[in-house]
Amino acid sequence: MNWKTIGTATTVAALLASGKTNAQEKIVIDGSTTVGPIAKAFAEYYMERNPGVAISVSESGSGNGAKSLINGACHIATMSRAMKENELAAAKEKGVTPMAHVVAMDGIALIVHPSNPVQGLTLEQVRNIYKGLVTNWKELGGPDRPIVVISRDTNSGTYETFEELVMKKEKMSEKTEYVGSNGAIRQRVLTTPAAIGYVGLAFMEGVKALTINGVEPSAETVVAGTYPVARPLFMYTNGKPEGHVAAFLGLKDTKDGHRLIEEIGFVPLRPKVAEMPKTP
């Protein structure tokens, strides 16, 4: 070994070391298709101001998000429901301590075709439609058409929330059609005159949202707690978030964060407005 090789080796090592500090920090986000748009808007906003951070957002469903976090495949799991007992148990087994952050509130809107004359239903009526006890719109003051009942797939957080808030754990009718995303439900309802479906508040564009127990689904009614089909949206981290992840999550309490959440159609949680947290 001569001095030249040692010199080269040092240069390479120095390059590697400096490369490491300059390298982009990565934040991987996975989970709910409902919370996904918030994560995406936040990510775009955050990356614009922090060029050194690369944030990737996937939407594979709340269950997959939880799995991802438990397996260490993502930094933040977006979920439209709280983690379940068995998920928490699995996390504990793997040495992961999930920490919940409520980023916004979401109402589930019952949507129908714009041409449907029905304006509103009671929670009980909605449950009866999904149970298959009410099968024709004429029973609800609409035209004489069999109701096409559309649900999210059982893999989605929206389904689980609907099952809990509306179905009260009772079985849906065997005639219920299942669809893989909020957008797909909107698409089906938009093109099917006799359809009823349920989506997050962000997906009501172009379709008609029904009042439930006389209350319209809107940001105000969801925050006020008067709209009966509403739920918090979560981002889960492994333990207390630090560095960029913490700053990213802090966006939910900023003015711009509220604006982003509102633009997507969700409801920011707290009126308290903080300044954009200092980046580490």
Binding site: V148, D153, T154, E177, Y178, T191
Partner: protein, 365 residues
């Protein structure tokens, strides 16, 4: 001498090893799916799984009956066969025996291009274009299809029948009798078609994502396989046997129907089976196009009713099924996969058997 033997032995062994790889892969897939599926059957038995139509995997308590889902798979597959086989085989015959060589050279790659379209694109088409179309223009669509299929079939049948029957008349009346028969039969066919089309036009489709939608799209997706394999089979029948048939004085249609088709039967059967396998295994399209309602249609042949299939259920439920603790909800998906695998295997075996049988017949053994 010794060296050559050793080299030959080595070569054989290497090739055997490579060939065994695919067999090993199949065995491993079988083993791992069975490993996950057997605990399910061990706990819940076979009865509920195969006979109950109640599919509530997240219910309290859960129900894991797949009768409706099995039925949905069968219905959608059968529908795809009805779409793909007549169109595919006709197209193959046309390409191989009727069209000029240059046209075939150009047309076959275009048909095979259908296979290159990703299945999610087909699914998107089914959801965004076909489903609304079925809902708003369903009656018109069905009426058009009845006329489009019925008119040529009716015309050909009327022509053939009137010709055959008129041959029984004395020679001098043959022409007149043929014309009268043709007019009568044509009128009857027209009346029948009209009433059929009228009835089809009355049909309304409440939900456009249903068994028919999925069958249509799957049928189109299976087309390139069916056409390509069938056309190869018809070509493989060879020039000699066609020329032999012409030399004996047979017409083109006689040659085609009595000589070429029987001679390439095994290949045609393979084309159909490969097409069916494509339809059975397809996931994305049925997930988007079939509506995924776990019900047995009423009446049983109602293809306008939404159905759920095995593949779509496995894909759709896999995310939430908790594999960390190995729940029944996870195992039941493997039980379904095993069922699907066994069915595919049976399909393959039947195909193999058919092919062998026709070989034996044609080699005179």
């Amino acid at each position: 001498m010794r060296w050559e033997d050793a080299t030959r032995w080595m070569g054989t062994m290497v090739l055997l090893g490579v060939a065994s790889l695919s067999i090993l892969a199949v065995l491993f897939i079988f083993y791992f799916i069975a490993k996950e599926a057997i605990p399910f059957f061990a706990v819940r038995g076979f009865r509920e799984f195969f006979t109950s139509p109640e599919w509530y995997p997240s219910g309290h308590p859960p129900r894991f009956g797949t009768a409706a889902i099995l039925y949905g798979s069968a219905l959608v597959t059968l529908g795809a066969i009805v779409v793909a086989v007549p169109i595919g085989l006709s197209a193959a015959i046309c390409l191989s025996d009727l069209l000029p060589f240059a046209v075939r050279q150009a047309a076959k790659p275009i048909v095979e291009l259908l296979a290159a379209i990703p299945s999610v694109a087909y699914g998107f088409f089914a959801l965004v274009v076909l489903a609304p179309l079925l809902q708003t223009r369903g009656g018109l669509l069905f009426r058009t299809v009845v006329w489009a299929i019925g008119a040529p079939v009716g015309a050909i049948l009327a022509l053939m029948l009137s010709q055959t029957i008129s041959l029984r008349f004395p020679a001098r009346w043959q022409r007149g009798a043929g014309l009268v028969l043709l007019a009568g039969l044509g009128l009857a066919a027209w009346a029948l078609l009209r009433s059929l089309a009228g009835r089809a036009g009355q049909l309304t489709v409440e939900s456009g994502t249903n068994a028919l939608n999925a069958s249509l799209i799957l049928g189109i997706m299976a087309l390139p396989t069916v056409v390509s394999v069938a056309e190869d089979a018809l070509q493989a029948a060879g020039r000699e046997i066609r020329e032999g048939s012409y030399a004996l004085g047979a017409t083109r249609s006689e040659t085609l129907l009595r000589v070429v088709l029987p001679a390439s039967l095994s290949g045609l059967a393979a084309a159909v089976i490969l097409g069916v396998m494509r339809a059975v295994g397809e996931t994305m399209v049925v997930w988007m196009a079939s509506g995924n309602a776990a019900q047995i249609p009423r009446p049983w042949y109602n293809v306008l009713s939404p159905v759920r299939t095995l593949t779509a259920t496995i894909a759709g439920d896999m995310g939430e099924a908790d594999h960390v603790t190995g729940s029944e909800r996870y195992a039941v998906l493997f039980a379904m996969a095993l069922t699907l695998l066994v069915f595919s295997l049976l399909c393959n075996l039947v195909g193999e058997w058919l092919v062998r049988r026709s070989h034996r017949r044609w080699s005179g053994g």
